[in-house]
Symmetry: C2
Subunit: 343 residues, 2 copies
């Protein structure tokens, strides 16, 4: 019953009756050995539970099967969700994902990259903090390790960027809001941690002007990643001080909108597109919780799966080719209008 303990490849070699180099070959690529020897090995594998020592394997490799995934803030379900998808794809590609969160802290972001360096990852997918990131350090890292930048685009960071088309996404939401009611006022953080926010502001202004509308922006004070709280506090203030010139609020992201909805509810405002509603509210991101807000949040969705898929594909290609791409390619995926009850 009790399987014999096999301590190393040497022992497994004699146990299976296959020479050690061949066993080694098998573990690197099971198809690289003859079918008959493969059977011998796999039969032996069933009778004892030997597994190669991962440290010894990686010691001589310049490149391991490790794969780093760095996100700025894992407690944000948005990043948890996209990380989950990426993890799955990475595993399917035969690599070992290592998920790291920077927890909103630029020093920890550097620490994470430092930790990744040690484990010589084959590739890295990096969603940087953004404004707070130490750009020089990130660039230095990307020069050494095949890295693709995703979610938050920082020029020069990573050998490619895969992300969300903020321009298009902002535009379709504005178009929808314009044709279905009063023009939207943009509600955002004055100093957002994430660069997508800036893209969205610019896109808002551009689109509004192109439509002959007067762009209006209400900015929330506050720093950091406690975005719902900022949306709540500043939303409450903005409503109280009557800062919104129309009945339509387009929040820069869903977390801000979640806080805003909470404030509006507390102030007794009805939100929605019915006649008896005081305000329409829209968000941006299709945050996992946006379908459970009160009312459910009309928003514009990232193409989560496409972004995850393309990101992984791009790094894998990078790894395979072993070349430095001559230019940093940028891939953006269009957003999709998610019609719910809030606007």
């Amino acid at each position: 019953m009790t399987k014999p303990r096999v301590r190393n490849m040497e022992e497994f070699s004699s146990f299976s009756g296959v020479s050690r180099p061949t066993v080694s070959k098998y573990f690197n690529d099971a198809d690289s050995v003859r079918a008959s020897t493969r059977q011998k090995i796999e039969k032996a594998l069933e009778q004892c539970d030997y597994r190669p020592n991962i440290f010894a394997i990686n010691q001589n490799r310049k490149l391991t099967k490790n794969f780093g995934i760095v996100v700025p803030y894992l407690a944000d379900p948005f990043f948890a969700e996209i990380a989950r998808r990426i993890e799955t794809l990475v595993i399917a590609a035969g690599l070992r994902p290592i998920l790291l969160s920077s927890h909103g802290d630029p020093e920890l972001e550097l620490g994470n990259l430092d930790a990744l360096r040690l484990i010589k990852p084959a590739g890295v997918l990096l969603a940087p903090l953004g404004r707070a990131s130490n750009r020089m350090a990130l660039e230095a890292f990307c020069a050494d390790v095949p890295t693709v930048n995703f979610d938050a685009n920082i020029e020069g960071v990573g050998r490619a960027f895969v992300g969300h088309n903020n321009d298009q996404a902002t535009e379709i939401m504005i178009e929808y809001l314009l044709r279905s009611g009063e023009p939207p006022v943009f509600f955002e953080m004055r100093t957002p941690p994430n660069p997508n926010a800036n893209k969205r502001r610019v896109a808002y202004i551009d689109t509004m002007e192109r439509r002959g509308q007067n762009p209006q922006i209400v900015q929330a004070e506050g720093e950091g990643w406690k975005i719902e709280e900022i949306g709540y506090r500043e939303g409450r203030r903005a409503i109280s001080e009557n800062l919104f010139s129309t009945n339509t609020v387009f929040c820069s992201n869903d977390r801000l909108a979640i806080g805003f909805l909470s404030a509006a509810y507390e102030l007794g405002l009805r939100i929605g597109r019915n006649d008896d509603c005081a305000l329409r509210v829209a968000g941006h991101d299709n945050h996992p919780f946006s379908r459970y807000t009160c009312p459910t949040l009309t928003t514009v969705s990232h193409d989560y799966s496409a972004i995850a898929q393309r990101s992984v594909e791009t790094v894998l290609k990078l790894i395979e080719s072993e070349t430095f791409p001559s230019q940093r390619e940028t891939t953006l995926f269009d957003g999709e209008l998610i019609m719910r009850a809030s606007a």
Copy 2:
């Protein structure tokens, strides 16, 4: 400007003028060498950026500085939050946290433990899936690796358990609800993934009976970790079918409550403790989003920081002592009533 490249400890030894074994000693414990030699090493460390190869280090160690953290579902902000705290403590203890999520999948849970085995972690903190977990396999793992079980208690898994006092927490909420209005009906999943739910049901029934009340339970159908959705769908159904015999609903957890609130809102029910409200709703967990629901959710909080702290302490003690504790100790931390607007 360009720092000389130092490839290994040998080279660093001659670079710094300190013998290799001493350098090795330094990297294992900087205080174990004489202050003067320590200075020599650290000065050299500034002039070149050598760092020991982590794979070579761990190859000879039976025990690494790796530390595993396994949670059942990282996309749940509750687990993200507690994982974040644990990570911080583990880093402070000089260990390298490896955070793994089972994504609600029992096979992945085993895969995670398998992956952890390979990296010979000094210790592991394991929050199991619960009902779906392969208990035998978990036990086998815990026999080999110093593991402390947290959050979801599975008898026999881990050498200690640290968690939330579901009995006490349930009781204080029921007491509050009883003295402030109608008796609570318990709303839960019929087949909850997490064993805490069962504890809470039992505690609900016990407390109600001790108070001379008639316990009433409404059970939601549905499997898996999409708990908000289940809360929404089944909450909507239960309200429509008039299954609640009083105006007070005590949800088994906040995620269920979040879904329930969304359903109630959609059905036009006012939630809260005012006279004009149709329903009072309470939750359990103090989920990060519970303060942004509409209305804000009255709930009972985990002592997040105490649980995180004690969990880490317990594993560290286990690691240090290198002994198998004669009995599996269970530590529970009391919950705290979080009064908000929903009940």
